[in-house]
Symmetry: C2
Subunit: 190 residues, 2 copies
DNA sequence: GCGCGGCGAAACCGATCGGTGTATTCCATG
DNA sequence: CATGGAATACACCGATCGGTTTCGCCGCGC
């Protein structure tokens, strides 16, 4: 059976929306989405009010998985520095996938220039959460200015993911971790 | 008279394409573009082979202006460090404009996931040129690894422009220059 | 005065957009 | 077996997509 069988129409729709909108952009058509999910357009509009809300739901659905992949597997044993650098190591590991096209949440924010779009709100929330995670680690590690360090790390994170996704830069030599390390050192993080 | 009068149809078209595709995204329609430029669709298709090529031309047209805005006004008197930091100061100055939506070349690369698109090639070229400018300054300033430093600075540049354009971050407190400075120091740049 | 070329207005092309209406089928529950 | 909700197929809506074509005006050279 195909990987999309057996799941509920709602799940199949959200998975297809996440996959295709990430690969082809948010302007992917609902017709294509439904065909890919094996769900009729009529069913889709009974499950969701609009394409915009389905897109937001498809982003929301993957938030936990996304954050879990960036979280250090053994948080208690790791230092703040290790937990921060683990995020960038994971970014570098993911970027070698030929299907990698950058952080999907940043891509949505760039493509949907409308900040009122429901999907933009989801994406902003993910970015905010990551920043707060960085800031918490920065505080625990004794950084001189935890807020500043967190904002700097997000500059690196988003810059690296955007450039790697656009195939303008490669991260597989540790560019992101090296840059983050330089900032951690400059911030006086333990 | 409107600002678009008196210029040639070609210029008006390219200006409108640059303005609207930057504001609304590259999926802006040719109908809208032509209406804004006051040029008939027929004339547009005599001047350009396709919408894609017109988009590429509109990006190309602004390259020199874009690069000039990032270049230090007095290159001979300035140190490599000053010339590098000037780029980030200009980025921060531009980002306070309410119409700022990030670096237009990075936005095009993210929106047009197709690297074969003629506009993608133009955008990649701009990024490459900026990286080489950074590397030249890094060499002249005696950085330990000029190539690495140039790549790191572009991470900052693109991360800052994308986040500022998406209104997820503000640069008006000097975030970009502060981060770049930390990297220059870490690289041993004079 | 006349014809011709360039250009704008607008119709037109097939395709696709987001979204809806309607009729039908499937399946689980009572 | 009957009923009802869920899902289907499919036609349809007006709008817009990138792109082409027709027509008619206007100015310039002969």
């Amino acid at each position: 059976m195909a990987s999309t069988d057996k799941a509920s129409p709602c799940d199949r729709l959200l998975d297809a929306a996440a996959r295709l909108s990430y690969r082809d952009g948010v302007s992917i058509g609902v017709e294509t989405l439904c065909r890919e999910a094996g769900v009729s357009k009529r069913s889709m509009y009974q499950l969701f009010d609009s394409k915009d809300q389905m897109l937001a739901a498809s982003l929301e659905r993957r938030v936990a998985r996304y954050q879990a992949r960036l979280a250090h597997p053994d948080p208690d044993a790791a230092t703040p520095r290790e937990r921060i650098l683990y995020v960038f190591e994971q970014l570098e590991k993911g970027s070698v996938d030929p299907d990698y096209h950058g952080c999907p949440y940043l891509a949505v924010l760039v493509e949907l220039k409308d900040p009122e779009h429901p999907a933009s709100a989801v994406a902003r929330g993910v970015k905010q959460t990551l920043k707060e995670a960085f800031r918490t680690e920065a505080e625990r590690g004794g950084a001189r200015d935890p807020e500043l360090l967190a904002r700097q790390l997000l500059l690196i994170f988003d810059g690296a993911s955007a450039r790697a996704g656009a195939r303008v830069e490669r991260l597989d030599d540790g560019l992101a971790t090296a840059t983050a390390t330089a900032l951690l050192d400059a911030a006086g993080l333990a």
